[in-house]
Structure formats: structure tokens, C-alpha cells
């Protein structure tokens, strides 16, 4: 019988205590903020969207290798010696044309493993977190500054240089050993 009354009393008492807690929250300041109008101020280390500063990128492919999900694709073309590609901010001379630098941000897992190995710190994570798209293809960001034609032109340019260098080496090989001149002569 005593347990019976205790149960009743406990039931009523704990329910009233619980109600006191909830009613006390009725007048406490609210915690939620109204998102589109009021925005949370992100800390400066926030890791959201990737950004690559192409002037500093020397096409060394370190970030593509460090990425666990392989969402960075880089294609580079060697520069013909005559060309001048300018220097990165910390003074290193660039030697590669970066014809293709794509980051598929849909695959990116925001682990920032690509930021650390970059020698010229040209890839980092900004605090932009509103970048949703309607089509998945739009999430593939093309950072390379060369237009497709320029890229094509650079490739052709390099192949022409390559072929010309090969011919020079062949000619030079011919000059170095005269007796094999006849067979190399009728070769080209």
C-alpha cells in the first residue's frame, strides 16, 4: 500500500518538476537564428569550398596525389624553352602550362589533405558553403586559365617543338659518326 501511494506521489511530483523546467524555458532567450537573414560568422579555419589561385599553381600534381577520393584532375604541358610563363608569388619560375585543372567538388570530402602538400600554397578552402547547383556537371570546377583553344595550341606547339628536337638530335647523331651517314641519310 505504501508503495502504491509513493508511486502516485512520485508520479505527480516528477511531472510537476518536469513542467517547471519546460515552462521556465518559455521566457529564456532563443538559441536559433533566422538563417537567410542572419548568418553564422564562420571561424577563419572553416573548411568549405576549395579555391585554387592559378597564378601560383606550378602543376606539380601534389594535391591530386594527396586526395583520398581523387577528385582533382590536372593535365600539364611542358613549356617550349622560348616561352616565358611568369613566376609564382614567391619567386619560383613556372615551367609547365596547366592546360586542365578540374576539381569535382561533388566528390570532394572536405578533408583538406590537398592544402598541406602544396609547395606554393595556391590551393586552400574558403568559407563559402552555399554552392549548390541544379546539374551535377556544374559542380566540376575548371580552374585552368587557358581557354581550350589555347590549350590545344600549346599542345601542338609542344609537339612541334618535340618533333623538331628529335630531328635535330637525329641530325646531330648523323654528324657525330660520319660512316653511318649513308644509312641515316637515306632514312629521313
Amino acid at each position: 500500500m505504501k508503495q502504491y501511494l509513493r508511486n502516485t506521489w512520485l508520479g505527480i511530483y516528477t511531472i510537476l518538476v518536469g513542467m517547471k523546467v519546460t515552462i521556465s524555458h518559455l521566457f529564456k532567450p532563443k538559441v536559433t537564428i533566422q538563417y537567410p537573414d542572419v548568418r553564422v560568422q564562420l571561424p577563419e579555419r572553416a573548411r568549405n569550398r576549395l579555391y585554387v589561385n592559378m597564378d601560383d599553381c606550378i602543376g606539380c600534381d601534389q594535391c591530386a596525389r594527396a586526395c583520398p577520393v581523387d577528385c582533382i584532375e590536372i593535365e600539364t604541358v611542358k613549356a617550349v624553352p622560348g616561352e616565358d610563363l611568369g613566376t609564382t608569388s614567391n619567386g619560383k619560375r613556372k615551367a609547365l602550362w596547366v592546360t586542365k585543372f578540374d576539381i569535382d567538388i561533388a566528390k570532394c570530402c572536405y578533408c583538406a589533405l590537398c592544402v598541406y602538400p602544396c609547395p606554393t600554397e595556391c590551393i586552400w578552402m574558403t568559407d563559402v558553403y552555399e554552392f549548390s547547383e541544379y546539374r551535377r556537371e556544374d559542380l566540376i570546377y575548371h580552374f585552368s586559365t587557358l581557354t581550350p583553344e589555347e590549350a590545344l595550341q600549346k599542345k601542338l606547339n609542344y609537339q612541334k617543338f618535340e618533333a623538331e628536337k628529335a630531328r635535330q638530335k637525329a641530325a646531330q647523331a648523323v654528324a657525330s659518326n660520319p660512316q653511318s651517314k649513308q644509312d641515316s641519310g637515306n632514312q629521313n
Binding site: N7, T8, I15, M19, V21, T22, H25, L26, K30
Partner: protein, 358 residues
């Protein structure tokens, strides 16, 4: 009462009946249901340190209207293997049970649907009518979860009728009449004359009544929570176990009808306890109309006070919902049969003895 007054007004008797039946629905139930849903979301938000709907309209007032519009244009799916007739009529049966109870509720001394002498008896009979609707909904959805929900709600509502009626019987034994209008009239307009504080009786009996009447009110309030499926008794549509209980398969307007029925039922139940225990349409501090002499103002004030007290009790029900966890089915039954009913009987006996002393 109101229907024959309207009958002369419109000349045609049936038109009068129709309008008098439609009056509470459009004047009170629909706007009340809209803003009860809004109030619940706001109250729950404020209790949980958040802000709740504030985008649609000023301070989010049109939120429920937006919800209703959304529900209207939603596709009204009827599951393939559902029992079509039962499935379609179930929500309306539940709402009918709730709406029928409005007939005997005394909104003010002038306005009452039908001033029948068995007001309390009629309301309790009609409000247990919605159990059939829930069973129909649960069975027709042909879904295991809704079947469970329906089975549980039948057991719950039927078994909680007993303590609810016992609590009312103790109150009626003190009051003496079943006619709700009379009950409200007897509680003259000072709040210490309300039945919960012993009623207009004077002398030692008034103080003896106070405690049993408060216990009777508490038992009736808890039992009515169970009848309306509100926490801590919302087992039929326990989201964490039965997904959504008996209305799992419902979409579109039928789902809105369930909501309307639930909030309507909440108001009916709190209206009954208001008119029996808290002095129906009596105002706690006398009428403004008397003091400044405009006597047509008094019925308006009475309607205001009746709705105000009803809404207050509905708010308490909402407050409970966001505080308490849910009981299990067998604990629910044990609470009803092992705790509420014995206390209701003891209370009945005590009040019986007190009435003999007079």
C-alpha cells in the same frame, strides 16, 4: 433554443436548423483548429529554445493556412489493398463524434446548441463515438502499424471512459443537475462560487467539497487526455514505434481531417471540464456589461470567458505534451485500472458522505 430563434428569422424551419448547426463549426471550430495548430507549434518552439514558424505572414500567423493549402493540393492516396469504404469514411466518423459534442456545449447563457437536460450524459456518449472511426481507419489502411495503432487506441479510449465518467458522476452528485446550461448558471459570477471551489453552497460543506472536487477535476483531466490521444497517452500514433499509428496511410485532406478532429476533441474535452468545474461562461470577476449598463454586452463577454478558459486548458494539454515521455500500453492500462479508477471510487464515496452531512 438558437435553432427555433433562427427558424423564425429565416422563416423556414430546416434552414434555421442548418444554420444553427453550421454556426459553431464555421464561427469557432475551424478558426480555433487553425490557430490551435499554430499555437501548439509556437508553444512547443518556445519551450524548446527555438522560435517556431515566423515566416508565413506576420509572426507566422498564416502558417497553418499555408499547411492546409498544401494538404489540399496533395494527392489523396488510397492504398490499393485498402478497404475503400471504411478508409474514406473513417476520418469523417471521427470528426462527426467530435462535432456532435458541440451541440450541448453552453457557449453563453443565450447561445446553446440544444438545451437538453442530459447535457453531460449526451456529450460523454457522443465523444466515445470516435473510437469506431479510429478502428475503421486502423483496419482499413491494411498496414500492420496502423492495425497496432487502432487496437491500442480502442483499448485506451474504452478503458479511460470509466474514470472520466466516475469523476463526472462525483461532480454531478454535488451539482445535482445534468443540464450544462443550468450547471453554468448555478456557478454565479464570482470565481469562489465555481464548483471546483465547492460551488454556491455555503457553510462547512463548501470547504469539505473543495478537495474532492479538485481530485475529481484532476482525474477527469488525465482521463480526458487519454481519450484525446494526447501525451503521455499518445500511444495509438506513437511516432517512435508505430510510425504514425492509425493514420499512417492517410495523406492530403483526410490527414487534415484527423488533425481537425484531434484539436476539436481537445477543445470539447476542455470545454466540458470548464463548464462543470470552472464555471462555464461565468466570468471570474463579474461582468463589465453590468457595471457600465450595456446589457447586450454580457452574452458576448460570457462567450469570451468560455472560450478563454477552454483555450487555457488546451494550452495546458500542449504544455504536457512537450514535457512528458510516452507511457507503454500495459502501463497505460495499469494506470487506468489500478490508480485512476480506485481514486475515483474513493472520491465518489467521500463526496457521497459529505452530501449526507447536510
Amino acid at each position: 433554443m438558437i435553432s427555433d430563434y433562427l427558424a423564425e428569422f429565416f422563416g423556414n424551419k430546416y434552414l434555421g436548423y442548418l444554420v444553427s448547426a453550421a454556426l459553431p463549426l464555421f464561427m469557432w471550430i475551424l478558426p480555433y483548429a487553425l490557430y490551435a495548430v499554430y499555437a501548439e507549434r509556437k508553444v512547443s518552439a518556445f519551450m524548446q529554445d527555438r522560435i517556431g514558424p515566423n515566416r508565413v505572414g506576420p509572426k507566422g500567423l498564416f502558417q497553418t493556412i499555408a499547411d492546409i493549402l498544401k494538404l489540399i493540393q496533395k494527392e489523396d492516396i488510397v492504398p490499393a489493398s485498402a478497404d475503400k469504404l471504411l478508409f474514406v469514411t473513417a476520418p469523417y466518423v471521427i470528426f462527426a463524434g467530435t462535432f456532435a459534442a458541440f451541440a450541448a456545449l453552453p457557449f453563453s447563457s443565450v447561445y446553446i446548441g440544444s438545451n437538453i437536460d442530459l447535457g453531460v450524459f449526451y456529450i460523454m456518449a457522443v465523444s466515445s463515438f470516435s473510437v469506431i472511426g479510429i478502428l475503421m481507419a486502423g483496419w482499413a489502411g491494411n498496414n500492420k502499424y496502423s492495425l497496432y495503432g487502432a487496437m491500442r487506441s480502442v483499448a485506451q479510449i474504452v478503458s479511460y471512459e470509466v474514470p472520466a465518467l466516475l469523476a463526472l458522476v462525483t461532480a454531478i452528485m454535488v451539482i445535482g443537475s445534468l443540464n450544462l446550461n443550468e450547471i453554468s448558471q448555478m456557478q454565479t459570477s464570482r470565481f469562489w462560487n465555481w464548483w471546483i471551489f465547492g460551488g454556491p453552497v455555503d457553510g462547512i460543506q463548501k470547504f469539505l467539497y473543495i478537495f474532492p472536487m479538485i481530485v475529481a477535476f484532476l482525474i477527469f483531466f488525465i482521463a480526458s487526455l487519454a481519450e484525446v490521444n494526447r501525451t503521455p497517452f499518445d500511444i495509438p500514433e506513437a511516432e517512435s514505434e508505430l510510425v504514425a499509428g492509425f493514420h499512417t496511410e492517410y495523406t492530403g485532406m483526410k490527414f487534415a481531417m484527423f488533425f481537425l478532429a484531434e484539436y476539436g476533441n481537445m477543445f470539447v474535452v476542455s470545454a466540458i471540464s470548464v463548464s462543470i468545474f470552472f464555471g462555464g461562461w461565468q466570468s471570474p470577476f463579474g461582468y463589465l456589461g453590468n457595471s457600465i449598463g450595456i446589457n447586450w454586452l454580457i452574452p458576448v463577454e460570457q462567450v469570451f470567458w468560455f472560450l478563454f478558459k477552454g483555450a487555457l486548458l488546451v494550452l495546458i494539454q500542449m504544455w504536457l505534451r512537450w514535457t512528458l515521455p510516452r507511457l507503454r500500453v500495459d502501463q497505460l492500462m495499469s494506470l487506468c485500472w489500478k490508480y485512476l479508477t480506485p481514486y475515483a471510487f474513493i472520491n465518489l464515496v467521500i463526496v457521497g458522505i459529505i452530501t449526507l452531512i447536510k
